[in-house]
Amino acid sequence: MNDMSIDSGCGVLIRPNSPFVPMPCIEDIFDEIAKPLKEFWGKLISMPLKERFATLMSGSLAFDLSKAVIDLPFGATAFGLTNTTLYFALYTAAVTDTVEGNTANEAAYTSYARLALTNNTTIFAAGSGTTTYTKTFPSDATKSWATSTGGTATVTFMAILNGNAGTTADKGYGWCSVTSTTINSGDTPQLAQNAVTLTMD
């Protein structure tokens, strides 16, 4: 018997023949798409995997957050990821859904520090949409990382973490690829207002 089968009690066996995916992992984070275009993310759900692969590479929620989000309604498990402040980290190498605070190749130019944003509705304002819910941030203003005072870093990925211990205690919320950007001394990397878009069907 299939472990996921449900016996109705009258001899009829309901046997799933496809994965049950209540919240498909296509919660992409990507840069500033014009408002009308955001409906597109909903369409991706029904696309064959091969067709949507290139887009999926642009970003995703991290495993830590995906698990917490699903455990909350299914099992009523309290949301266990600290989130009073969210930290935006830059990387010089690819990151994936397993990103956490000890992931190697985080930017390391002199004076680099994670961008700490207070988790409130000023910076993470309510989103919009029904069939596809879309949220953009930072809602209030452009945000700056620390100005480099030495060394060089070519960043290609960004991740959002729930802590700044620099260890596995910092759980991953999400990640995305960014345009290859070389940061030299005197440069200030910035995240434009509403640069990050998060959608979910």
Binding site: T98, G151, T168, S177, T179, G186, D187, Q190, A195
Partner: protein, 133 residues
């Protein structure tokens, strides 16, 4: 020595709750980080020469599909494409020169991690600067 964070408004500060100077503003100065007062110039105000916008990556196919899904003419949004034709190819898959490239992994990626005993001081930390000078 402590961990650092930045508040998005140009201020660098100590972000380590068990440190005596937790939440105090600092600024890089001649090889170290010094605590500054609220009236002093911030770290970024002191050192910034230019701003670089960290932009997301978008390929032609996803922009086209987005435009069509919204009933828009894709030609009007070609300016948004910044990945493809040799540009930002890491958007599509991990590139061979990427430190996390692994040809044996299904997604060509094997992220490396650092031990918790070491990771906190590698970056975002007052002790990290001297490895980059």
């Amino acid at each position: 020595m402590p961990r650092l964070a930045t508040d998005g408004d140009g201020n660098l500060y100590i972000d380590q709750p068990d440190h005596e100077d937790h939440s105090k503003l600092v600024r890089y100065h001649e090889g170290s980080f010094v605590v500054i007062g609220p009236e002093d110039k911030s770290h970024n105000a002191t050192h910034e020469q230019q701003v670089l916008v960290v932009d997301g990556t978008r390929d032609a196919e996803s922009v086209r599909a987005a435009a069509e899904a919204a009933g828009q003419d894709p030609a009007n949004f070609e300016w948004m494409v910044n990945a493809g034709n040799g540009e930002n190819m890491h958007h599509f898959e991990t590139q061979p020169d990427d430190p996390h490239y692994d040809e044996n992994s299904p997604n060509l990626t094997k992220m490396r991690t650092l031990p918790d005993s070491l990771a906190p001081t590698i970056t975002s930390h007052t002790d990290a600067w001297n490895s980059n000078e």
